[in-house]
Assembly symmetry: C2
Homo-oligomer: 410 residues x 2
């Protein structure tokens, strides 16, 4: 086991203008390995602060990963501060210089002093090539400690971490790999998932596990403590029994992935009629590349006029049961099926808040319906919380309902 | 000026399961004040690590804000570790105990040892009431240093920070406030915004400023270095001249806020026809509470059938110009205007990728159209980047186009 500490530098981070995405990314990459992240530190572009934080990180960890501060401007301090700590003066890296010359030459631009600075690294450092940008990353080793410096721009840092840093770490410490397994469970309370996993027949002594929760989704992660593999087949078999259709297929990262895959496998097309979610369900479906093969389209029926004119929901149904009712949801789903000429249609209508609630239909009341050629289904849920949460969880219920509806079609 | 260091504790954070949202929130709240955040530290639920990081934070800063570790379970360590550092044994807080008793009583549940632990604080601490959850926050002062401990759950931490911690900090250090001003500029390159602001006639010696960029939006923030107010009127007048209609109204946090407000002011209703954005524009509009007063609805016309059957786009237009073309976009907008019976309609059709590009219409080609009773308008943009970026920026162009279209209606 090796202890890792991550330092992110950038005044915009400590000012709260943006949240650091690099430390969570690196932590998630290293989690299923024997490289244990013990701390993240974020510090502004202030030489004294940066030096103090790097020194304290080197003290607490075997490996320090520093992101940011490799650019051309005056407040990019990483080469200078790290060079000071490792007593290595900055010098130009020839390969990086050639790349930069070619780049600026193609743009018809001279290299400025800052650009020269950007291709400099502390003397004796090992270069970590930057496939995307111009500033190289680098690493230094001393007294059994390793410092790795990477650019702060996430789309430069990420490929460099995966393609350069990870192989380098595993070459330094070959026992770093650990086995892992991830399960995704939809629309179940975290405490319930927790209890079911805790009751599984698993060699818990040799496996770490944890749950991450987002609205309507629990992600369960198992990681081997040692270098032995974890009993994936046994865990998957038990999980299938305990969670049933609430568990996503291992190839699906999200519920929308799963639905696009399921529809594709069965040659079915989908249509949507959304009221309170206002396009969020369609947005999530079309987040999946290739959704156009199975998704016909949707109607965002925010006003009653649109429900009746476009989706053919009868005025009688709207007047008798109200816009937020199972009969209206069913009429919306049947209308979408017909108008958008799909095999399956889903509809959602509800009160997302903050206004619009009544005594019998408080904020959070949401009705769902699903229609196919030969069957349909409707249900109502009361979802507590603010507008954003009601909308997000409603979209999760729609997607989950579509999945169940597909399964019920045999 | 007082130096602040923020410590977030939680193993799920250093494991990379979730990103810490508390430190960025606190930093953003403190940015326009004389409380200068010098570092964020994130550490797992390991007593030795937590103690070491808190001690080092107390060393570098006047005020340490600790979030997390106040719950009922064994890995909630903050009271114990902070108590150890300040030599104050944990003791039950009576007011918090009474609240917890009432809460568990209403649920018909006994209080467990963990629940008692949750309402304990180090002896002598000042209590910071928790309006949302059961665990109180607290603060301790010694040798001119202040430590503030808050729950880690964001929806408990945020109101506690705003309602308890901020007044407490300003009572300790009354000179903490600084004046600030924020401008929001849409669809302009950051470098261009930067140059225009840098060229303004502003007392830069006494004002700090910075730009935060998100897709299609630059936020410019001015903060007074001292306690003098910043010349807001002069800055706003210059900005209005330089940025014109690209600058949002000061009351709008987002482009969708601005559009819902503008439509409401003018008594206009809006309809949407979306292809490549797949509901994202409708989702953004309906993110705004009260959107139902001005938003009629939308059609997500992902397939050509839906474009022709629902939006009445003629087969001839689709066959002659293709689905991604200005004539099709215009026909979609006119169709949405008619079918959804709105005053203004916007349409977008494009190739978000990764598939679907051709030589003449590469991935990223997106056509936009806007239609009203007496006028319409269309244009095409080529948006580089991945699917998510193309979709996000396309939605920004739609919203910006709606805004301009409203302004052009007089």
């Amino acid at each position: 086991m090796k202890r890792v500490s991550i330092v992110s530098t950038g005044s915009e981070l400590v000012h709260g203008h943006i949240a650091d995405a690099n430390a969570p990314f690196i932590s998630a990459r290293l989690f299923p390995t024997a490289f244990v992240v013990v701390a993240h530190h974020t510090v502004g572009d202030v030489p004294g602060d940066l030096r103090r934080v790097i020194l304290s990180a080197l003290d607490e960890a075997d490996i320090v990963i520093l992101t940011g501060g490799l650019g051309p401007t005056e407040d990019d301090l990483s080469v200078e501060v790290v060079g000071g700590i490792f007593e290595a003066v900055p010098e130009v890296n020839q390969a990086a210089l050639e790349r930069a010359k070619a780049f600026f030459g193609a743009m018809g631009r001279e290299m400025l002093p800052g650009d020269i600075k950007m291709v400099s690294v502390p003397r004796g450092a090992r270069i970590l090539e930057n496939e995307v940008g111009l500033a190289p990353g680098f690493s230094l080793e001393r007294h059994g400690k390793v410092l790795i410096a990477l650019p702060g721009v996430p789309h430069e840092m990420r490929p460099m971490f995966q393609n350069r840093v990870e192989p380098y770490l595993f070459s330094l410490f070959p026992d770093g790999g650990r086995d892992s397994l991830t399960l995704r469970v939809v629309l179940m309370r975290e405490a319930e998932v927790n209890d079911l996993v805790a009751g599984m027949n698993i060699p818990f002594d040799s496996i770490e596990w944890g749950i991450t929760t987002s609205p309507g989704m629990n992600t369960v992660r198992f990681v081997a403590r040692g270098s032995d593999p974890i009993p994936s087949e046994s865990i998957m078999r038990q999980a299938a029994r305990l969670f049933g259709e609430r568990m996503l297929h291992p190839s699906s990262l999200t519920l929308e992935d799963e639905i696009v895959r399921l529809l594709g496998e069965r040659g079915l097309s989908l249509a949507l009629a959304e009221s309170c979610t206002g396009g969020l369900v369609a947005k999530r479906i079309t987040d999946v590349p290739g959704a156009s093969l199975v998704f016909r389209g949707g109607v965002v029926a925010y006003s009653n006029d649109v429900k009746s004119n476009v989706l053919d929901v009868s005025r009688e149904v709207l007047d008798t049961f109200g816009a937020v009712s199972e009969p209206t949801a069913l009429a919306m789903a049947r209308g979408a099926l017909r108008v958008l000429r799909a095999d399956i249609a889903a509809a959602v209508t509800g009160i997302a808040g903050p206004g619009g609630g009544t005594e019998t239909k408080p904020v959070g009341t949401v009705c769902f319906a699903f229609a196919g050629m030969t069957a349909d289904r409707a249900f109502t849920r009361t979802i507590p919380g603010a507008r954003e949460r009601v909308r997000m969880l409603s979209s999760q219920y729609v997607l989950d309902g579509i999945r169940k509806f597909i399964h019920s079609m045999k």
